[in-house]
Amino acid sequence: MNAGIIKQVTQHLVNRARWSAMEYAFWLAALASIFLLPSRHLILTEVAWLGLFALSLDLILGYAGIISLGHAAFFGVGSYVAALLAKHAIIAEPVLALVVSGIAAAFLGFATSFLVLRGSDLTRLMVTLGVALIMREIANQIPEITGGADGLQGVVIAPILGTFQLDIFGHVAYVYCLLVLFVLFLLARRIIYSPFGLSLRAVKGNPLRSALIGISVNGRLVAVYTLAAFYAGVAGALLAQTTAFASLDVFSFERSADLLLVLIIGGTGYLYGGLIGAVIFKLMQDWIANLTPQYWQFWIGLVLVLIVLVGRDRIGLGTGMVRALGQRAVRRLPIPAFRIAAPPAEGR
């Protein structure tokens, strides 16, 4: 009698992990952008690493409920490690250097994860912010290694896999960043639909009961925080490699705060929030900066206040208003971008 139900349950669980049409559409659009928007590759590169960075924050905020105002600490470590590896030709090949940079950030993530295990959201905000400030000051105090306030100059990035040299138009850089984003997204998606991923949602929903059905709550939080630090480190390394530069700005408070905004725009807890948020945030920044070069932050601020007011009940659920608003914004925003990219031959 149970055999039929078991089959039905298995089917139900397996179906959930299946790719939806929307997901295919999203990645096809990303693929198409390589060929259709060659003149926008520089900004799309920024979108790609910002999306990866936001995906990293989503792993801890959307799935484990850990809020952070200092995620730039891991981004920054990844950035500096990648720049240093390239500058001193310790690991010249960028893909390997990328992995090593991520691992370096993961070490910091593991070490600091124990600080965020306890306490309220406010405690976590302060602790994570503090860690990022400390990292920034350390980088500032060892200029002989990091270049201090001047940044790390003279970084030369070797060809990717020994073959693909980065070009000044950002074509190779964009394809590189997009591929890294895609691979790490696939990994994150796999993890989210695993028993480990399910237990994270349980821990987020009810840590007390989680412990009392045998889940090692702290163990799971340490694991996901370390994983997220790896992702953030890789994102930072992508920035360093595609700009051949690293500066103290990678650790800045604004970077952590902007990241939270990116995720709020896109919505948390469904993996695509960070990616969609990054697209909207960067395009909005670019678009508004073109309209009013001096006051763009005013408009960004206003838009964010509106988004949060309209969708305040939805933040953290990753559904409904914020997402709908995001999707509406996605439909609207690319229009000026396309207009800029349109060939002048139209002559109107």
């Binding site: 149970n2 397996v14 992990a17 796999r190 028993p195 480990f196 349980a202 009810n206 009392l212 045998g214």
Partner: protein, 250 residues
């Protein structure tokens, strides 16, 4: 017969208040033991101490002869000590299917696996279906737990503890707040628990206590007042005074 779960002079102070004051309990293997007492007597605090939700101020807790006083809550579960809560502690955004699956995966040691998809392990799925069936939750297994009627949530609360396959099960007022119509399901479920599972029950419903328990401990003001077989406890005039009298008047 050796006690499967025992406490020695267990104490818990909150500030200057002694919520639990020198409680020494011994629960025998396979027992149906009830812990009763007036409101505020410290019954739930005892359960919280036994399961590791709270750390005792003094005293020891022994599970099958081993000292588990300093053991983390999730390790106690892995050693076969599970509980339910007086007020539901469920995962409102998950389905009953996922909820029960979590406990089963964790027990089988595969709950931390990240490379495998949920639902890819047949033995977990089989056991989920079996447990949900036993607790009349099959028809709602795909629904969000937060949307379920209270009676169903209450059944899930117990099913989740059973999914941990405990050797000792602590039930904190399983029938609390359940509407009369659905009460029967809960009582049948509690009565049908496997006989090799040792059960410690906290309950205000005296019908349930006296039909279920073969041993009763009465807790008053954080201290153990009397312990004995149900008929002894029922006959004891002091118990009537402090407890049964109160519940008759209530």
């Amino acid at each position: 017969m050796p006690a499967v779960l025992a406490t020695q002079s267990l104490e818990k102070h909150f500030g200057g208040i002694a919520a639990v004051n020198g409680v020494s309990l011994a629960i025998e293997k396979g027992a149906r033991h009830a812990l009763i007492g007036p409101n505020g007597a410290g019954k739930t605090t005892v359960i919280n101490l036994l399961t590791g939700v709270l750390r005792p101020s003094a005293g020891r807790i022994l599970l099958e002869g081993e000292d588990i006083t300093a053991l983390a809550a999730h390790h106690r579960v892995q050693r076969g000590l599970a509980r339910t809560f007086q007020i539901n502690q469920l995962f409102l955004d998950l389905t009953p299917l996922e909820t029960v699956g979590l406990a089963i995966s964790e027990r089988m040691g595969s709950g931390g696996q990240w490379w495998r998809l949920v639902g890819s392990k047949l033995e977990v799925t089989e056991e989920i279906v079996d447990i949900l069936g036993r607790f009349q939750l099959t028809d709602v297994m795909f629904e969000r737990t937060g949307n379920l009627p209270y009676g169903k949530q209450r059944l899930l609360e117990i099913a989740l503890a059973i999914a941990c396959r405990p050797r000792v099960l602590l039930l904190d007022e399983p029938a609390a707040g359940v509407p009369e119509a659905e009460r029967h399901d809960i009582l049948t479920t509690v009565a049908a628990l496997p006989s090799d599972v040792t059960v410690l029950l906290i309950e205000h419903d005296m019908d349930l206590v006296f039909s279920f328990a073969d041993r009763i401990s009465v807790l008053v003001n954080g201290g153990l007042f009397i312990e004995g077989a149900p008929d002894e406890v029922a006959r004891d005039p002091r118990v009537k005074a402090v407890y049964l009298g109160e519940s008759l008047n209530a």
